[in-house]
Amino acid sequence: MTNERYACDILVVGAGPAGLAAACVAAEAGRQVVVLDNSPWLGGQIWRGEQTHPTQAAAQRWIQRLNKSEARVLASATAFAALSPRCLLAETLSGVLEITWQKLILATGARERFIPFPGWTLPGVLGPGGLHAMSQAGWPVAGKRVVVAGTGPLLLAVADGLKRHGAHVFLVAEQTPLAKVMRFGLGLWRHPGKLVQGLGVKARLLGVPYRCGCWPLKAEGADRVQRVTLTNGTRTWTEDSDYLACGFHLVPNVEWPLLLDCELRAGAVRVNEFQETTVADVFCAGEPTGVGGAECALVEGQIAGLAAAGLPDQASAFFSQRASWHQFRDALNDTFALRPEMRGLATADTVICRCEEVRREALESFTDWRAAKLHTRCGMGACQGRICGGAAQFLFGWDNDSVRPPAFPVRVGSLMSADPTDPTASTPTQPRV
């Protein structure tokens, strides 16, 4: 199969808030921009569903702005390998794209962090963001009893969204103690947009108990979740539930930055003031540089886009806004840090690695991720450690600092197309047609 080829000035990986912002400003500055995303939609995970069910003005503004720009969008394309230093390969449903770039902006977003507990592998236990996103595209939640649990501001937004789709959300269990959540809430005055958003969500949630200092201990059921046992540290009780939407804040997607040898610091991509990584011409914006939310990502994305377009003066106009969002980011991550009890949720026979079905007791004796992988296959299944990696980091302190291509499991045919000597390859086409 012949690869479809593209050449551009700036390639943006990820079409969430950071990627949209970066692509818009770079394309508006006259650069040839290609935006790649593994989903069929624009907006990333946080704004997923906005194209079909518009609810947020900011999302609509940015999606329209991108659609009006000359940037070329390649959707449903999963970046899986770098063919050469400035050429990246992506798999689509029907083939392989080969994209050469002058500047690369990684806006790969974040995923939910899962902390294993007994029963978390049962169907019906999902990430809150995941259940919400799928409910916007037809996943049936109407009339279902749902517990939303874990930690982070996403829980309230998800409970609100699920209710609007007809779910009976009867409890939101937030592991962070109430006093800490209150302190965070009071600090939001510095970010009025967030405050309005938060109050709006809270108002619609009236009637749903938001219990802080409360977390799930186990999920039970035959073939799917039917009951959830929760605790507030002193009292333990069980609720009948059709779904348990449970996630513990977010972890940055740093596989691509790692694959390109970008340096990390404390699990996040190191960038300079222009959002450029430690690898020349490779920029990074949004959650991979530290989980700070959509507004922070939009600002960082604009800085990255303008800097990559060779407009440092315009980029620097956003520095003070970014500094303010970084204060918010620090408060966010401090507030929703995991309490130590979360390390004790998984029992000896709880599965940690879902793909290879590796249980906690099989992992305890190892001192690092690499050794555990080699001996138990933990993290070597289809998700390549994306789910258990965040858990292993929290439970055992193991950092995953190496990624090998392919960055995502792909078809054998796609891997074969990564051969740079392929004589059937066509000549590059310009992105604008």
């Binding site: 999902l126 037809g138 789910i387």
Partner: protein, 82 residues
């Protein structure tokens, strides 16, 4: 009225509104077990965003497709638990 598409899930016809995810169509068909774990435990979607691969299904003959990232199309054939 919303446009609808009809697809087949494990041989059973399912009609869903256009724009519905394959994962959602599978759930609407009453299937909770998308796949079996290596020790035979039932599994369904976890992340809903293309990361965990728990929702994988055979879509139009293509095995290991992420049903949470794929939108239903008319005449599509979906098989779970392969």
């Amino acid at each position: 009225m919303t446009e609808r598409v009809t697809l087949s899930v494990n041989g059973q016809p399912v009609s869903v509104p256009a724009g519905t995810l394959v994962a959602a169509a599978v759930a609407l068909a009453g299937v909770t077990r998308f796949r079996a774990s290596i020790h035979g435990e039932p599994r369904g979607p976890l992340c809903g965003m293309g990361v965990c691969f728990e929702c994988r299904a055979t879509i139009n003959g293509q095995p290991h497709s992420r049903s949470c990232l794929t939108v239903c199309e008319e005449g599509m054939e979906v098989r779970t638990d392969d």
